[in-house]
Assembly symmetry: C2
Homo-oligomer: 193 residues x 2
């Protein structure tokens, strides 16, 4: 097991319905030392790629992306889930369905901060059915930007998101891929690298 898998095995909580709760270190309380290690690992895995921008989505992706980006030394942009007066002018939009929240969100990125000159690394905390990620890819395509790779903390390997994204030819680097979970014993089984 790598450092993230070990942390999930130690502090993750398995609930009925294939829910994995990692709110003590990843998406409510956040361990930025861990995020730092994740950034180092992605830096290694995307070695040689010319990355000019990191794109993530609010809210849980922001902390991970901001800490991880310090290894890449490029700006981070986060896609907003709701239109606010903070974003005005020309925007890229995509509609994404949230597995967690069971609703649809308009995802918005200002055209000022993403363009055809950009080589983008997408970062998010979870990949399940992949809808959020598809929204971010759609926005990069609309901007004419190049998606150089995708860094995910935890992929649910038993849902279709990861397979779809890999079939599309993207370099997807999930630091932990959960193959199955047992809510009775609390065990989490990871895919071998």
């Amino acid at each position: 097991m790598n450092f993230l898998e070990e942390r999930i095995a130690k502090d993750g909580i398995v609930k009925e319905g294939n829910v994995l709760k990692v709110d003590s270190f990843l998406n409510h309380q956040m361990d930025t030392e861990l995020f730092n290690a994740m950034g180092e690992e992605w830096k290694k895995r995307f070695e040689g790629k010319n990355i000019t921008k990191i794109l993530t989505i609010e809210a849980s992706g922001i902390g991970i992306a901001c800490v991880a980006t310090q290894k890449f030394q490029v700006p981070v942009v986060f896609a907003n889930k709701s239109k606010s007066i903070n974003i005005e002018g020309e925007v890229y939009t995509a509609e994404v369905e949230s597995f967690t929240h069971k609703n649809k969100n308009q995802v918005i990125v200002s055209k000022k901060f993403l363009g055809e000159e950009d080589h983008v690394l997408l970062i998010d905390d979870f990949l399940a059915n992949g809808c959020a990620l598809q929204g971010l890819i759609q926005i990069c395509n609309a901007a004419g930007a190049t998606v150089e790779g995708i860094g995910i903390a935890i992929e649910k390997g038993f849902q279709k998101g990861g397979t779809t994204i890999r079939n599309l030819g993207y370099q997807l680097e999930s630091l932990a891929i959960v193959e199955s979970m047992n809510a009775e014993t609390g065990e989490v089984f990871f895919r071998e690298n």
Copy 2:
């Protein structure tokens, strides 16, 4: 001018209605080198305080808090603005009104991650009327936690939030306090320290 005031003067955009847009470096696209410098400055200003946790609020506060916390080496918790299945069990709640979004949000923190043993530094990007901050203070009080201080990137000195918070006796460290803005000339005037 300090480093943040200089950046605001350079890249901030003043709009009619006392709107200051800093979306190129603070709250849409994010400059994490700048966040790092902000963390260093807060570390100095809160020297000697025993801080065990940083509390912020989604979405724009998360990136700043996650980078800044690396100077404090404590966990960050972010208050959620909507109830999701990621937060279950006992929670602290407060209702806050957003100046930016013109709506009210329920702000939620899991009781697991905030307790009477905690000495909390609150971090957020903006302080205007102070409603978001009051919600976070309310949650700390409900938890029996001690608010050791409040770190804000940009305070709108012409709105009442900062005065209220200082009158309540909190150590409020805003790295840039805007006294006034001129939408015609684009000028931003800062309070002298």
